[in-house]
């Protein structure tokens, strides 16, 4: 049928192509142009303005630091959770459901939840006070306590974002036939060897997806940071937001947007290369 009318497949994908072109490609091109032009002429003035800004280096450093700390911890926790839940018989679905609750909470709401815990009059201080650990309100989220602020943001991000990694990893673990683990066990592999030599290599596709997704999202971290640290902890997306709204400078905001995109693409490429998956080798 399609041999006679070769244009039919193209017709069928036309709506989605048009949709993407209109709402993705056009704004992307506009953003890049906005970032790399000044008064209608190509220019690096905006980029220069971004780089020389006092918060630029800090926001780059903070974003990378947060990603480097948060993503591996999330992967490790998710692997532990996935491995544990695989051993559970009854109640498995319920446990998974509870674990994925953070997924259903918007990141700003999650940030506010952690704010209510960690602010000066928050639950954490009340607890410490009632235990007699502190005599007066301690501050955790100010510019004077950068380490505590960083830890608070990292913990909130880990709490919020681990569920999605776990969901992907549980799906990956479910794909591994139990005979592989049983065979390894019979031939003398202990729990650690089974995990490192059998399970981990076999869930590489899931691991890769989880890493890409989580890393890209980590570079885009904003709402949780904004709720907890405000401008005390500048990150890339936060700076883009500030240039757009506070400073009303759309061009510098656009340069930030392009920079975040480049970093995300680069990270994705690195993962694809480093965790090269030959799909045929996994069947």
């Amino acid at each position: 049928m399609t041999q006679n009318r070769p244009w039919i497949p193209y017709l069928l994908i036309l709506p989605s192509v048009a949709f993407l072109a209109l709402l993705f490609v056009v704004p992307l091109v506009q953003t890049i142009w906005l970032a790399l032009s000044d008064n209608g002429a190509p220019s690096l003035a905006n980029a220069e303005r971004m780089v020389t800004d006092i918060n630029f280096t800090r926001s780059v450093r903070n974003t990378f630091l947060l990603t480097i700390v948060v993503v591996p911890v999330q992967i490790a926790i998710a692997l532990a959770m996935g491995t544990m839940v695989a051993k559970v018989g009854r109640g498995r679905e319920t446990i998974l459901w509870i674990w994925t609750i953070p997924l259903g909470i918007s990141d700003l709401a999650a940030g506010l939840v952690w704010l209510s815990i960690l602010q000066n009059t928050g639950y954490f201080n009340s607890l410490l006070f009632s235990l007699g650990v502190i005599g007066r309100q301690a501050s955790w989220l100010s510019y004077q306590t950068p380490v505590a602020l960083f830890i608070a943001i990292a913990v909130a991000e880990i709490w919020r974002g681990t569920a999605i990694v776990m969901v992907i990893i549980v799906a990956g673990l479910n794909q591994v036939p139990k005979e592989f683990k049983e065979a390894a066990e019979i031939f003398g592999a202990g729990p650690w060897t089974r995990f490192w030599r059998i399970t981990l290599p076999l869930i590489r596709p899931a691991l890769q997806s989880a890493l890409i997704l989580r890393t890209v999202l980590a570079f885009e971290v904003f709402a949780v940071v904004y709720a907890l640290g405000g401008r005390n902890f500048p990150v890339l997306v936060g700076e883009a937001y500030n240039w757009q709204n506070q400073n009303q400078n759309y061009s510098v905001a656009a340069v930030y947007a392009v920079l975040i995109m480049i970093i995300s693409l680069a990270a994705t490429l690195i993962y694809l290369k480093a965790l090269k998956v030959d799909p045929e080798r996994l069947s």
Partner: protein
Amino acid sequence: MANIVIDRIRKSFGAFQALKEVSLTINDGEFVSLLGPSGCGKTTLLRIIAGLETSTSGDVRIGDRSIIGLAPKDRGLAMVFQNYAVFPHMTVYENVAFGLRMQKADDARVKAQVEKAAGLLHIEPYLDRYPNKLSGGQRQRVAVARALAVEPKVLLMDEPLSNLDALLRLEMRTELKTVLQSAGTTTIYVTHDQTEAMGLSDRIAVMHNGVVEQVGHPVEIYNHPATRFVGGFIGSPPMNFIKVPVSNGRVAAGAEQLAVPEDVGNEIVLGLRGEAVELAPLPQGIEMKVRVAEPMGSHLLLTGSIHDQPVRVILPASETVRSGDTIGLKLDRKRITWLSPESGKSFPAVSA
């Protein structure tokens, strides 16, 4: 010495009794099949021996050492799985070497053992390949080579051929027999395929509903099943069971009077293998109404009834019987099994 003693093993899953006091002794170097329909407990028993499943009670000893409670790796056994379980992310070489690597064998020994096992299973040309480049039969060879490479005292096989197509299964069956005979490994082989069990085994343990119904040499089990279940499960076509009246300790089969075991009631079940008959004129022979006659080339398969009970018999291909005929059959009295109509158990063979 690696004889295996399975001593009153029981296994319950909640209220369901998967194994009800199973006992079985397997001699050193022997090949024993656990044969039965799905759900009979054969795989559960194998997994208990392997250590992948715990028994509710009972003991398993290998070479007089109790292995219940030992980790699978400390039991000195190897296993071949139904779906091969060949690691897809390792080359064939690394797959075969896996058990040796886990034992921290040095490279020279690994190489020697892998080459030896690969030679036995004819997989030397594929050692550098990944399993996805292999056919099902080749993957199963890799799985068997992986098991033999560690020179296990006991080899467990869980339906290793059932994922292969019919032709390959026949070929692998012959080859397995050759390889395992030369290796001299004590083998427990789980299968639901009775021809596989018949062809490979030194002895067969027929299982049904968590119980071993009969253990014996394939021919013995075929000719003298201990229960109605065994007779019906083994052989194609299955054994015929005809309920016949007994008078004065005799059963009339056409003109012949057949002696039955003592102390039976008014009725007894005559167990008859389809091929243990020959054509005889009526009324000397017992009467059979033929409903369908199927010439199979090598033989003639007749489906019909004796005493209004369904039977299937096999005659030489040279005989001419057509659908709808009524024929007479002379029974080979040495190959008759008498069974109790109540318990379904067979009586010991009677003379004359």
